[in-house]
Amino acid sequence: MADILIIDDQDRLMDLLARFVPEHRYLGPARSYAEAVEILEGSRRSLDLVLLDVHFDRPADELLGVEPSMSDREVEGLRRRQGLLILRQLRRRVKDLPVILTTARDEISIEDLAEAEGADETTYFLEDDHIDVRSLKAQIARILDARQGHVFEGPIYWGRHLSMQRLRQRLSILARGRLPIMLLGPTGTGKSMLARHFVHPRTGRSGRFVSVDLSTVPRDLAAAHLFGAVRGAYTGAVGDRMGAFESANGGTLFLDEIGNLPSDGQKLLLSVLQEGTITRIGDLKERPVDVKLVVATCEDLPAKVAQGEFRADLYMRLNPAAAVRLPPLSERGLDLGALLRHSLGQALKGAGLTELVREVRAMSRLGEGSVKIHSGGGVPDPERGTLWLLWPERTMRLLRGHAWPGNLREFAMVTENAALVALAEAASVEGGQRADVVQVRPKLVQELLHVARPPTTRSGKVVPVTLSPAESLNQVSQDCERQYFRRLWFENEGDFSAMAALLLGDPDAGRKVQLRFNQLGLKVRDLKAELA
């Protein structure tokens, strides 16, 4: 049984939980931040979780953030996002207490707003538009598990950001259908892993998962590779050969970088999609195949179609209307902690890190045990046999502020390198106060990120501005500045740390950028409204 605090202006959530999730003890509902603090301070047991509404229909004097000069409209605005202000105050008081924001989702991304108000790794969002008690129950159980140290994060696609949740919902549905699935997104966002580990198991097919990266198959051999060939079909074809389609029969075929498929291969692929049969190169016999086709590209396929490089009829057969776009890593700030644990969890199984961990353990006299990763604020309490790899908040801020042009691939390399260097240093120097904690210092990560920065960023970012005459040069220059600040804000999804990293080379200088932003008369509220 967990102790869960409800902060909500209504009783309905409390009633629902008492009826459908009676296994926990509920405190509240607190109608305001002040009431929540009273309950937090008065509770004899430590709380396990907070369920927090966002919209509070309460009198102005009970709201956080109200100022005497505010209009009724502004106060109403505060009511609509009161939960986010409460979240910010809560985070100052109880840093690691998990909080689920229970508001229904809508066009305005509550994640983005919450992130600006101090949401972090222990802030969660309802997994559905409406409260579905089964998923809420499961979500609570997973959060409580995580709090007790059980890792629940799945692979890279298991993010909490709304875009990732919608992506999973959509793919679960598309996987069951017979039409192809098209995965879009920049390189390194995990398209291949998503196809293999998420889509294929949900197709309900018993056949194999076969993956072909068309960017690595010689163009001359692509058709034979996909459709098979008979002896003598081409120079070097010394025997009959089965293609990827036949290998994947009854299962899933993943074609990565579909834009690289040469024109003869495109024609054959179209024929397979239309007829459901393949003919090996050089053969006359048609063979029926039944595969779930998943294709992926980081290219602009419609542009290739327009330029005549990709067949329009094939493109339409690939089900572009239902294409699923994977977000770049820079849009998944809330998931970085989980991704870090997943990525390093994999890396720690490798020989290099395992050996270093052994050396650190020997030096620290820790004995046998596990390696745990802690990210964000505070230092974890010692646990028997546990070696902590600590990623302090300042280090995490650097990770969140980086643009990650190489996405997950770059993230995995940077974080593994950082862990490697931190462990190597710890293995060569006697530990400090806590021999069981290896810290990944911000400076180390900053250096790695600097090296990883692509040349385009190093040589300066090009931001187009429109020059218009004004009364003074100062006005002209301010107008230009406003334009590029505005553009950078949109490009960085409102992340001032990322803007500071770009403008000042220091992600910690976000406040400076925000100040200048305000001086220029730019209002985050207006830009968010535009974004919505």
Binding site: D9, R12, D15, L16, R19, F20, I131, D132, R134
Partner: protein, 151 residues
């Protein structure tokens, strides 16, 4: 009857506020518990969740409001906007919502009077979810109204 919450009784609110009231006050809570059970759930459970959703649609420190009490001021606030016309898709959504809420008003009366028979509970349950969905659609339609139609 308990006193309604202050901000729910605001005079005719602007369009955005109306859209948000439809979502927050009506859509969210109209089927809050109904969505957690199936239509073929035991009649006692269906009756309890319907009573919570339709008779105590909003319940807080200031009292309770049933679905009809929440809908009435919203309907009145929407009336001048609809009378002016030119709402396009939004008018269809509002018309669907009005039809769905007319059914809900009947259910509120029947539930309160204890005259809703067990065999009609599954359909009532579906109606609550339909009305919640209709309120959501109407809320979005209002929010997406082009500038010209806002008046």
């Amino acid at each position: 009857m308990a006193r309604p919450e202050a901000s729910s009784l605001d005079p005719v609110p602007p369009l955005r506020a109306l859209s948000e009231r439809l979502q927050h006050d009506l859509s969210r809570y109209l089927a809050f518990q109904s969505r957690c059970v199936e239509s073929h759930a035991p009649p006692e459970l269906l009756r309890e969740v319907l009573a919570d959703d339709l008779l105590r649609t909003r319940r807080g420190p200031d009292g309770e409001l049933d679905a009809a009490q929440i809908w009435a001021p919203l309907r009145d606030a929407l009336a001048p906007l609809r009378a002016r016309g030119g709402l396009g898709e939004a008018e269809r959504a509002l018309s669907d919502l009005q039809a769905a809420m007319a059914v809900i008003e009947g259910l509120v009366t029947a539930l309160r009077a204890g005259t809703l028979p067990d065999e009609e509970l599954p359909e009532a349950h579906r109606c609550a979810i339909r009305a919640s969905d209709a309120a959501r659609v109407a809320s979005r339609a209002l929010r997406n109204l082009p500038e010209a139609a806002r008046g």
